[in-house]
Every structure is written in structure tokens, then in C-alpha cells.
């Protein structure tokens, strides 16, 4: 019964944390995507983006003036839907880490040696990340299709040309997962979640929902392992430092510090 509550507490905490970090960082990602999708001044008129920013600050200023505050939060709704990923990853990570090392995420103890936990941390991250990715990847594929309105496979078919125009409009081609629906002009091919799913199933089969997951994991799993190992290791060393600091402070108060 209490174990169940713990699962819920961790799921809620993951969603809260994910929502906060999305709210804080969404403007940064929007600006980054806009800056990255700009093409050079030699590019043909059709390929150019409707904006022209010189730097990050310039982009922020121009976006605020031309489109208002809301433009920094474009693509927020799908990004918040993506919180299901952390809601799976972190509770599972806590579970696996507790099994392997006997400690929760970020927890430390003075009674046992917590320096040799890195294998457990890495294994827990590996398993939890793979579970979370497999569970949420179809949703990401769907989101990418809806946002960019493009087929990733097969590349350069006539269909692609007919939907995007024969002129290479380079700024519309974005890699999957580069998330933003920042007002780019795309001809609607998929409309609505259910119809998109039906279209994809009819045209490409269920495998389409797992297109490129292997490549995605090659990037996502090492990234998560680095993040968690760094976090936990640093947290443990700072904890030991804090314990030492408190000891010194107690000694100072007693006047026995040497």
C-alpha cells in the first residue's frame, strides 16, 4: 500500500519537475530552433525564413516586439504531452536504483559506503531509459509528423516533392525530434491525431511508429547515463562535504576546532 503511494509520489514529482523545466526552457528551445533554421542570405527567396535574427538576444527582442510574449511558448502543448516520458523514466529509475543500491535518487547515507554505486546507477538508468523510450517513441513520431508534416521515410519520393514543392526549401526539413511548431508554413498532410494514426497504419504499417528508435536510443541512453551518474556522484560528494562542514561548525561552536 505504501509502496503504491511512493510510485504515485514519484510520478507526480516527475510531472511537476518536467512541467517547471519545460516552462523555464521553452523560450530557449524556440529561439534555438529559429536561429538554426535560418538559411544564408544567398539562399533563394522561397527558402528563406520569415525572420532574420543576428543573435540570441536579437531574436528574443524581435520575437517579443513582432509576435508578443506568446511566441516564446509556441509548441508548449505538445512539449507538455511529452512529460509522459519523464513520468515513466524517473519512477522506474527510482525503483531500479533502490533495488540495486538500496538508495533513492539523490539520497545519501553516512552509514554505508556509497562510492561504489555507479554500476547500480548506470544499470538503473539504462533500464529505465529503454523502457521510457519504447513506451513513448510512437507518440514522438506522431508529434514530429504532425509538427513538420513530412515523411522521414522514404526520402525524396515524388510524394515528398509534391507536398513540399520541388524547390529545395531547406528550412522546412528538420530532423525528427527537433521539437518546435514555430509557425513554419507547411501544407497540411495529416490532420488530427486519430486520422494521422490511421493514415500511417494504412500507408506504412505499425513499424512506422518505431522508425529510427534504434538511432534515437544510441543517443538518448548514453546521455541519460551521463546525466544521472554525474548528478548522483556530485550529490554524494557534496553530501560528504556537508557532513564535514557540519562537523567543523559544531567544533567551532564548542571551541574545539583545531
Amino acid at each position: 500500500m505504501y509502496a503504491e503511494n511512493r510510485w504515485f509520489a514519484r510520478i507526480y514529482a516527475s510531472i511537476t519537475a518536467g512541467a517547471c523545466s519545460t516552462l523555464v526552457t521553452n523560450p530557449i528551445w524556440v529561439i534555438k530552433t529559429r536561429l538554426m533554421s535560418q538559411v544564408g542570405s544567398q539562399a533563394p527567396e522561397e527558402a528563406r525564413t520569415p525572420w532574420n535574427y543576428r543573435s540570441t538576444l536579437d531574436a528574443a527582442r524581435k520575437m517579443y516586439r513582432a509576435e508578443g510574449f506568446r511566441s516564446f511558448y509556441s509548441g508548449l502543448a505538445p512539449a507538455l504531452l511529452g512529460l509522459s516520458h519523464v513520468a515513466i523514466q524517473f519512477p522506474l529509475y527510482e525503483y531500479f536504483k533502490l533495488q540495486f543500491t538500496g538508495l533513492e535518487m539523490g539520497a545519501n547515507t553516512t552509514t554505508m559506503d556509497s562510492d561504489h554505486h555507479w554500476v547500480g546507477i548506470l544499470a538503473a538508468t539504462f533500464l529505465s531509459k529503454i523502457c521510457a523510450t519504447s513506451a513513448t517513441y510512437p507518440h514522438e513520431v506522431l508529434r514530429t509528423r504532425l509538427q513538420t508534416q513530412q515523411h522521414m521515410y522514404p526520402a525524396s519520393s515524388h510524394e515528398e516533392i509534391s507536398f513540399r514543392g520541388a524547390l529545395g526549401s531547406a528550412h522546412i526539413r528538420r530532423p525528427p525530434g527537433a521539437s518546435s511548431s514555430d509557425g513554419m508554413l507547411n501544407l497540411p498532410r495529416y490532420r488530427g491525431m486519430v486520422r494521422t494514426i490511421k493514415t500511417m497504419l494504412a500507408e506504412e504499417g505499425w513499424r512506422a511508429f518505431y522508425n529510427g528508435m534504434g538511432t534515437n536510443m544510441v543517443r538518448a541512453v548514453p546521455a541519460a547515463m551521463t546525466t544521472m551518474l554525474t548528478y548522483e556522484t556530485l550529490k554524494t560528494s557534496l553530501f560528504h562535504l556537508q557532513v564535514e562542514g557540519r562537523r567543523i561548525m559544531e567544533q567551532q561552536e564548542e571551541g574545539t576546532y583545531t
Binding site: 511512493r6 514529482a13 511537476t16 523545466s21 538500496g102 539523490g106 545519501n108 552509514t111 546521455a223
Partner: protein, 165 residues
């Protein structure tokens, strides 16, 4: 509510404690302490001991974001190269006849040969700008909101697992 939640027997067994008990020490106490700290490590230890938990978690989160950015940047560069090479092809061309890169490893080798370490870490700056706040906020909020939900649900902060006992 359980007896576990009240946590009334500290002497029965050594429990891992979650938050340093003196973490939120008022500022004025700091200044009244005599400056007798001889080594910089001791000074740092005392400084860390007085930091609120949120500072610690967000700092650790920021550093972990930086580390993951450094690890993933080369992978992102490789992925972008592999994906972008199709987009500069003319619409009529078919197959992979004109492709420069095949597979992740050979792409990595080509980038390394042509541009070295700089090629691998192209675009690291903007990436770190995104990752640092993402993980700093995530870790800090996760840590404190998990404690909040634990207390709200009547659970003690740190679970004592079977392995410890």
C-alpha cells in the same frame, strides 16, 4: 498515517537521512563564527553545509546537464550530418549513390579527419545553454516536490530499504 511517518525512534537503527538537519541555518549565525578555518577545503565544507538543499540539487543538475551535453554533442553532429546530406540532393536523384556518409562510425571518422575535435563539438554552446537550465530546474523541483508529495501522502522522507537492515 503510519507510525513510519512520524519517525520517532532515531536511536533504534541507523537510518539514511535525506536532508542535512542544519541545512537551513539562519545567516546571522554564520557571521558570529570565528574565522579560524585554516584550509580552503574546510571553508568550502562549511559553506556547503549552510547551503539550502535546492541550491545543491540545482547545481548538481546543471553540472549533469553539462556533462550530458558534452557526451551527446558529437552524436548529434553525426546524426545531423547523416540526415542533412539527403536534403542538399537534387529532387530527381535516387538511391545513395551520391551519399558522402554511410553509417555512424564512418561518419564519425570522416568528421574527425576533416575537422578534428572542433568538428565534433560544433554547436556545443547553444546546446549547453538549453541543457543546463533544463536539468538544474528538473533536479531541484523533482527533489523538493518528491519530498512534498511524500509528506502529503503520509510517507517518511527516506525509505529504509530491506538491504540496509
Amino acid at each position: 498515517m503510519s507510525a513510519e511517518g512520524t519517525n520517532s525512534s532515531p536511536s533504534s537503527h541507523p537510518e539514511p537521512f535525506h536532508e542535512p538537519p542544519t541545512a537551513r541555518r539562519p545567516r546571522h549565525v554564520t557571521h558570529s563564527l570565528p574565522p579560524v578555518l585554516d584550509s580552503p577545503t574546510a571553508g568550502l565544507a562549511v559553506y556547503c553545509a549552510m547551503l539550502p538543499n535546492t541550491y545543491i540539487t540545482s547545481f548538481c543538475g546543471a553540472m549533469s546537464g553539462m556533462a550530458s551535453g558534452i557526451v551527446t554533442c558529437p552524436l548529434d553532429v553525426i546524426k545531423t550530418r547523416l540526415q542533412a546530406q539527403g536534403s542538399f540532393r537534387k529532387p530527381g536523384m535516387n538511391g545513395t549513390s551520391g551519399a558522402l556518409y554511410h553509417g555512424m562510425l564512418s561518419t564519425a571518422r570522416t568528421i574527425w579527419r576533416e575537422d578534428g575535435i572542433r568538428g565534433m563539438y560544433r554547436g556545443l554552446g547553444p546546446m549547453l545553454l538549453g541543457y543546463l537550465p533544463t536539468w538544474a530546474v528538473y533536479m531541484a523541483v523533482y527533489d523538493s516536490s518528491r519530498d512534498y508529495y511524500y509528506t502529503k501522502m503520509g510517507l517518511c522522507l527516506a525509505p529504509v530499504s530491506r538491504i540496509l537492515n
